[in-house]
Symmetry: C2
Subunit: 175 residues, 2 copies
């Protein structure tokens, strides 16, 4: 049984499966405005994963014949199977959150007490912005896009998430 792939590799497979053959540059653009929100991938990684997947036979590289010979990656049968095996398994690794503001909150009481309030105000404002952003994106979600359903769901969870954080920080800031 072939070894597990990295999460970013599944993103690559998934995006190519859904939208068709792609160059790393296009992957980068697609990641930035979708998956990147909840699974950041530095762009250099999107130039590293596809060749590796090609080595394992899960993608196939075909250079463009004319003009700028970009490296276009196609999904192979093996690639689709690998993706499918992953999707068929309803279990997932635990989520990891890295929230520098919570880190600061952990230790903020070592200093004067106004600091917690300042931090909370700042964070409340920040999360309100994201909440707005996701609400707008949901309102403008184009149902014709092949990823419309996925986008809607993920914006939904994003909105719930931000609401929880707005509430938390606002309360901490003293309403």
């Amino acid at each position: 049984m072939a070894e597990e792939l990295s999460p970013s590799a599944y993103v690559v497979l998934g995006l190519i499966a859904r939208h068709g053959p792609m160059t790393p540059y296009e992957l980068k653009a697609r990641v930035e405005d979708t998956v990147g929100y909840y699974w950041p991938i530095p762009h250099a990684q999107l130039y590293r994963d596809p060749p590796r997947l090609a080595e394992r036979g899960l993608l196939e590289e075909r250079a463009e014949e004319h003009g700028r010979r970009r490296r276009v990656f196609h999904l192979t049968g093996a690639g689709r199977e690998a993706l499918d095996r992953w999707l068929a398994d309803p279990t997932s690794g635990p989520p990891e959150t890295r929230n520098p503001a919570l880190l600061k909150l952990t230790f903020v009481d070592l200093g004067p007490s106004e600091r917690a309030t300042a931090l909370a105000r700042q964070q409340a404002a920040q999360h309100r912005e994201w909440l707005e952003l996701y609400r707008n994106q949901l309102a403008e979600n184009d149902p014709a896009r092949p990823d419309a359903l996925a986008r809607a769901r993920l914006l939904d969870v994003g909105i719930r998430h931000e609401r929880a954080y707005v509430d938390f920080w606002e309360e901490l800031a003293g309403n």
Copy 2:
């Protein structure tokens, strides 16, 4: 102006500031049952950071004199200042969430539709467990501990977070 430290370095400084001089092993134990929930740090890192901080003069290493000569790290004046500068700044880097289940959800519609439901059920159960866990920990939070206030706040945000996710996945699973 000395360069920024890594987040894990601030955790080290903060824990030593709050609880007193510590060995990397003790740091590891403390991280595991507190900060680790929302900022995972592999234990090897807690053996790498303190010596580096000592080189910069933010910690001071004193080997124990007798028995097992463990490496105990003390906070220096410069260390306390660095920590304080960080705490004084109410801004923070953006949070990063890496949630493999959301990744799977993004692409799950490439397969048969039962899969989304299976994933949702599984996730709902998982998040309900965490929610319970945090609620219990909050109920048992010992007010005598020096980090009692911090713990209470972080459990509060953890609970709100888990509630949001339980709601999301339950709804997706079809109530």
